[in-house]
């Protein structure tokens, strides 16, 4: 039990996917200009990541490994992710057309979010079992959501700040992301896996 909690904390804070492993930076910069959109994106990504890591674990363990087809992992993972994203897009469109329009192109672009494929591949490399895979996927998504929402809140504040003109817009956002990453490096050593 302790192992699972440590794995979750370790994934969210210590090995944060965005700020420590530098995966999933595209939506991190792309949808962080408004907190409302960032929260919507977080929920969608959390759903996709957890479900994708679960499904990809099932496919590797029960289909690819018994048949000696490990070389098909990347291909089948991409297939899984694409399907889950499409499914999420349909559900979001049905349940909240407002959020659907706000997320716009970033919703189908979760497919190409490298963090999602990263979770599936890392699960395989770290030889996680079923429960660990789900926790790892959820933890990665929770870490992603945490920094995305924090970052968007900071960017909303920064919009009102008096930033020197060479640093306006994307430049100050990059610097903010760098400083956040530095802060998250401080968590290393909190959990030893």
């Amino acid at each position: 039990m302790t192992d699972y909690i440590l794995l979750l904390i370790g994934t969210v804070l210590v090995n944060n996917f965005v700020l420590v492993q530098f995966l999933g930076l595209c939506p991190f910069m792309g949808v962080s200009s408004k907190t409302e959109t960032a929260i919507g994106m977080s929920f969608a990504t959390t759903f996709v990541m957890t479900l994708a890591s679960l499904l990809s674990y099932l496919i590797t363990t029960y289909l690819l490994v018994p048949l000696n087809l490990e070389y098909l992992t990347t291909m089948s993972f991409i297939l899984v992710i694409a399907v889950v994203v499409q499914f999420t897009e349909m559900v979001v469109h049905k349940t909240s057309s407002n959020l659907y329009r706000l997320l716009g192109i970033f919703l189908p672009l979760i497919t190409t979010n490298c963090a999602v494929l990263g979770v599936a591949l890392l699960n395989l490399r770290l030889q996680h079992n079923f429960l660990e895979s789900i926790i790892y996927g959820f933890g990665a998504a929770a870490g992603f959501s945490l920094v995305l929402i924090m970052f968007s809140a900071m960017r909303e504040k920064l919009a009102n700040a008096d930033v020197p003109s060479p640093f306006k817009g994307a430049a100050i956002a990059m610097i903010t992301a760098g400083l956040m990453s530095l802060a998250f490096m401080g968590f290393s050593g909190l959990v030893k896996l």
Partner: protein, 188 residues
């Protein structure tokens, strides 16, 4: 050789399964029309006045959903623009000058019929999109001020030019603070 065939078969089976799942989901979660257009249409004043350049409120709602500017509805005024901006998640824009009823004042207006000049032609009654003009043929007409949206569509058809747009006098109920007129500057 047999390995490759197995690989192709497995990938094909997975794809077919996922395809079936998506097909089922697309039927289950099918979205009728574009709900955003309905919501926008509900916000618009339904005067069908055409001042936005579209033949009515519904076509304008469709155009807004496709990215048209949100500040073209004169009868709706600032209030409607604010609601549309909230719904669409965009910034509030000031009412488009060219669609404003009268550039000298931004206050809401109602039509007023100078009754002494009215010949009872009923042309303004036919033009009114909200049935706010009362009267019969060869009888004097008058405007029900509470119903009038100030779209000024009745002004043009009047053959004797007896309709004018009058500003609604400000009451404590309709008073607006208009704080944006006070310029706030950030001092550095």
């Amino acid at each position: 050789m047999i390995n490759i065939l197995i690989a192709i078969a497995i990938l094909g089976i997975i794809s077919a399964l996922f395809g079936a799942l998506l097909g089922y989901a697309s039927v289950k979660y099918h979205v009728q029309g574009d709900p955003i257009v309905e919501q926008l249409d509900a916000l618009l004043p339904q005067t069908q006045c055409g001042q936005c350049g579209y033949p009515g409120c519904k076509p304008y709602a469709e155009a807004v959903a496709n990215g048209e500017l949100i500040n073209k509805c004169a009868p709706g005024g600032e209030d409607t623009i604010k609601k549309i901006a909230d719904l669409m998640g965009v910034e509030v824009q000031p009412l488009d000058e060219s669609h404003e009823q009268d550039s000298s004042s931004n206050g809401p207006k109602v039509a007023f019929i100078i009754e002494a000049d009215c010949i009872g032609c009923t042309k303004c009654i036919q033009a009114c999109p909200v049935d706010a003009i009362m009267g019969a043929a060869k009888q004097m007409h008058t405007v029900i001020a509470d119903e009038c949206t100030g779209c000024d569509l009745c002004v043009a058809p009047c053959p004797v030019d007896c309709i004018e747009m009058r500003e609604i006098p400000e009451t404590p109920q309709s008073w607006q603070w208009d704080l944006n007129k006070i310029a706030i500057k950030q001092l550095t």
